[in-house]
């Protein structure tokens, strides 16, 4: 600490006096610049938030308490400056705690948290829970179970249809006969949307990623400019959520699966483009040098030195994206039409909870399967299959199995093309109003009252994410220990608990927050509270899984060492377990907050409040320039969150 040693007590009074006038000023004077600015900025933000909350929401007696805690923070800051000047130890945690109290008090009020509603209105929601136990998938008819009508709507069914032309021409069936034809349901459509969007995104992201790779563009004259332009472009596109792209695309090509596919594709191109380009940047330059030295030309260098290095990581990222796209495909229908999301909206509107429950179960099963397949293939790709053979492998086109796979792939592609209602002509025939819409949308409305409204909803969204992360995270802590194999694997009962909790995490995790909102809207009413609860459920499941893995990964060495000193079980936990798991826990929580902010921007589409609700309203009222303001605000906030969360996590780890 480099303070002014000679006049220690006088500088202590000067510093604390300065801090009394302006929080952080004393610390700044004592050359603790970062600390001073931090305290000053925190005080400013808190004062603004309190003022904002008081003027926008009914705070009642809370106003007094908020200002009291704020006063305490002020006093702490004066005391802190005093102790700092006298080179005594300071109590950072106290100031931090006071700030947290203010933030959470406001957050609680702003997101309209009323825990009593969870109890008093439980009667109303019982019907939904009962439906979840008895989803409308099978019906009993004369003692035998068979798929219900709803099952057909969700998954698909066989119906007798006139034979298609090609079957007749090939002479397989007579003309005018009826053959069983599959009619695919909404979930099949969802799967097709996810597959198609991933395929299209890869097609575009691969070439784009080379333009966003520093090591490639640095070699091309003028490449650095293209590199920065491309990176910025990808980052902006990526920060706009798939569903928001959905709203915009619908104006272009109309409601339907095609719009959903396009929205997913656009977001995926940006997300994949970024990941791919980072992979291109990390390739080993050695082989490039070696292949160049043989006299190969540029194309050959790319074919033999670059592609073999990037194919496996590209494939792994693609599989990961496919998983994400399948999840997003389940909700894109909320705004774009098509897929199971659209179906869910319909069931909610009709109050058909058994059908809604059936959809949730089918989504959970499909997404869990997708998750497993994607994870398994990724692991296999990254491990790199070891080929141990002394024979030359035959070219793939001579192998019957490869040809069979190729044919299957093509058939699947054709089917997906049809189910996702791909219609490229629509791209070139936008609605006549489309250009006007785009013009309005780009010319964002910056009038004070619009900005004020947007800011208000944005702050609510941020608080929703914060409260959901906190509540979900807190709830996840005890469960995560129960889902850690190294703690629970000791006996049969423990193992059973482990499997139950793990399955609970996996099922809850596989359903997007947006699909949960309906339950909570029914339970606690439309508004930020419902959205927050839906987010908290997914947070609980995601964080619970990550936490339990962190617990599983603790190093047994320190445990052994502490136990060897004769420590008790509790002492072992405090000294050997907690120090190992708290840093990853906090890091995961911050990361989750970042994710939750993105999702909180869209829970409003289903009645979850926040900025999504506002965006939806502006769109339905055709006020596109105001919608543009909302999207611009989201882009800025998401980018800031991204940056801040990465910085904080870097410092923690």
């Amino acid at each position: 600490m480099d303070t002014l040693a000679p006049s220690r007590s006088s500088s202590a009074f000067l510093a604390s006096g300065l801090s009394l006038l302006l929080p952080g000023a004393g610390q700044f004077y004592l050359r603790q610049r970062e600390r001073g600015i931090g305290i000053g900025a925190s005080a400013l933000v808190m004062a603004y938030l309190i003022q904002w909350a008081l003027s926008n929401f009914k705070m009642g007696a809370l106003a007094f308490w908020l200002w009291s805690v704020f006063a305490l923070f002020w006093v702490w800051n004066v005391w802190d400056a005093y102790r700092l000047a006298r080179q005594q130890s300071t109590y950072n945690r106290l100031g931090f705690l006071l700030a947290l109290i203010i933030i959470y008090l406001i957050g609680w009020q702003v997101t309209d948290i009323n825990l009593d509603r969870l109890v008093t209105r439980f009667q109303d929601v019982q019907v939904v829970f009962r439906a979840l136990l008895y989803p409308d998938l099978f019906t009993q008819e004369g003692g035998t179970w068979r798929p219900s009508e709803n099952f057909g709507d969700i998954i698909g069914k066989m119906v007798e249809r006139p034979a298609p032309d090609w079957l007749v021409r090939l002479g397989i069936v007579q003309s005018n006969t009826r053959v069983p034809t599959p009619i695919f349901g909404k979930m099949a459509e969802t799967i097709a949307i996810g597959l198609m969007a991933t395929f299209l995104a890869v097609l575009f992201a691969v070439p784009l990623s080379f333009f966003a790779a520093h090591n490639i563009m640095a070699r091309v004259p003028g490449g650095i400019v293209i590199y920065y332009a491309m990176r910025t472009f990808l980052n902006i596109v990526r920060s706009v959520d798939t569903l928001i792209w959905g709203i915009i695309i619908v104006v272009w090509v109309g409601l339907g699966s095609f719009a959903g596919t396009l929205a997913l594709t656009i977001h995926s191109i940006a997300a994949l483009g970024k990941l791919y380009s980072e992979e291109v940047e990390h390739i080993d330059p050695g082989p490039i040098e070696a292949i160049t030295a043989t006299g190969a030309n540029l194309l050959q260098v790319i074919r033999y030195a670059v592609i073999p290095q990037i194919v496996p990581p590209f494939l792994a990222y693609t599989l990961l994206r496919w998983d994400i796209n399948m999840r997003m495909a389940t909700v894109v229908g909320f705004v774009a039409g098509g897929g199971i999301g659209f179906y869910v909206v319909e069931t909610i509107r009709k109050g058909a909870y058994e059908q809604y429950a059936a959809a949730l179960w089918v989504v959970a099963i499909v997404i869990i399967l997708v998750d497993m397949i994607s994870a398994q293939w990724r692991a296999r790709i990254l491990a790199g299959e070891e080929k141990v053979s002394s024979e030359a492998p035959r070219p793939f086109y001579t192998s019957l199995r490869a040809l069979l796979w190729l044919a299957l792939g093509l058939a699947l592609f054709a089917l997906c093309w049809q189910l996702a209602e791909m219609d490229l002509r629509k791209l070139f025939e936008p609605a006549p109003t489309f250009t006007k819409v785009v013009r309005d949308f780009v010319a964002i409305d910056l009038s004070p009252d619009v900005l004020d409204t947007v800011l208000k909803q944005m702050l609510i969204t941020l608080f929703q994410a914060l409260m959901a992360t906190t509540l979900g995270g807190l709830a996840a802590v005890p469960f995560s220990f129960l889902a850690a194999r190294n703690l629970m694997g000791g006996n049969a009962f423990g193992l059973a608990v482990y499997y139950v909790i793990r399955s609970l995490f996996n099922i809850l995790r596989s359903i997007e927050a947006l699909l949960y909102v309906a339950i909570f809207v029914f339970w606690v009413g439309i508004g930020p509270f419902a959205g927050m609860l839906a987010l908290a459920i997914t947070t609980f499941a995601l964080i619970g899984k990550l936490f339990s893995e962190a617990v599983e990964n603790i190093d047994p060495g320190p445990l052994e060492a502490i136990q060897a000193t004769g420590a008790t079980g509790l002492q072992t936990i405090v000294y050997a377990v907690l120090p190992q798991i708290i840093p990853p826990f906090i890091s995961y929580l911050i990361y989750q907050w970042d994710i939750n902010v993105r999702i909180a921007t869209i829970v409003g589409f289903a009645g979850g409040g926040g900025v999504g609700l506002l965006l939806n309203t502006y769109f339905s009222m055709l006020q596109y320039h105001k919608a543009g303001t909302v999207v611009a605000m989201i882009v800025i906030v998401v980018a800031l969150m991204d940056f801040a969360s990465a910085r904080i996590r870097e410092r923690l780890v």
Binding site: G286, T294, G295, Q300
Partner: protein
């Protein structure tokens, strides 16, 4: 014959890697290039096949000025100049065979090679080269499943596919366990003696220079400070090349 005249390389950041280096290499020589790390050995090697563009000076290879060639002409010329690297620089995820065949890329049709097509003659040649380096049975395994010494032998096989007249070996044994050094250098010696390939090889250990090189040059801070027979490197010369603090170390 290779003739290097007044070769200078200054990197964009201002580092002078080579200062006015001139020397000659007769056909069939095994020339050792010695010097500390950072003395310019790697830069010298890469200037000869123009993986790095020299700042000034000329490189004459069999009467052709390499520094004056167009990129397309230089690519043709690179076919005659094989290169072996400290880090082997194999494509780790590709098979040994593909790595070896990639040595033919300068000869084959660019379009066919994009589909990984190489003629049966090239396949036979690749297998023969692997046979020669004792790796025939490893042809179809992935390159990264081999040990360091084996990977470097694959690197040599790849260079041989070029049917080179000159091999540039940039610290070929520095990343290997010292006990494996001889196995690699014996192969290079064999190429040099049996096939008459000229070898330029940078080395760290003086023992190895004495044992394998027919002649040596020494670089210090980018300058040529020694040129002569390996036996001529006495203590005074040694200090001149490696600095006053250097001590001789021996392996095996």
């Amino acid at each position: 014959m290779l003739k290097v005249e007044n070769l200078t390389k200054i990197y964009p950041n201002g580092t002078v890697a080579l200062r006015d280096v001139s020397f000659e290499v007769q056909d069939g020589e095994f020339l050792a290039v010695i010097g500390l790390s950072g003395s310019g050995k790697s830069t010298l090697m890469r200037c000869i096949n123009r993986l790095i563009e020299p700042t000034s000076g000329r490189i004459i290879w069999n009467g052709v000025d390499l520094t004056a060639l167009s990129p397309a002409e230089m690519r043709k010329m690179r076919r005659q100049i094989g290169m072996i690297f400290q880090q082997f620089n194999l494509v780790k995820r590709s098979s040994v065979m593909t790595n070896v065949l990639s040595g033919r890329l300068g000869y084959v049709s660019p379009y066919q090679s994009l589909f990984n097509y190489f003629s049966p003659a090239d396949h036979t040649r690749a297998l023969q080269n692997l046979e020669r380096l004792g790796l025939r049975d490893k042809a179809y395994v992935r390159a990264d499943s081999l040990s360091g010494g084996q990977q470097q032998r694959v690197g040599i096989a790849r260079a041989l596919m070029q049917e080179p007249k000159l091999i540039l070996a940039d610290e070929p044994v520095a990343s290997l366990d010292p006990v494996l050094s001889h196995s690699i250098l014996k192969y290079l010696e064999q190429m040099n003696k049996e096939d008459g390939i000229t070898v330029l090889c940078s080395l760290h250990f003086l023992d190895l220079v004495h044992r394998y090189a027919t002649r040596a040059i020494g670089l210090k801070e980018g300058r040529l400070v020694f040129q002569g027979l390996p036996q001529e490197i006495d203590d005074a010369q040694f200090k001149k090349i490696f600095g006053q603090e250097a001590e001789r170390v021996t392996i095996l």
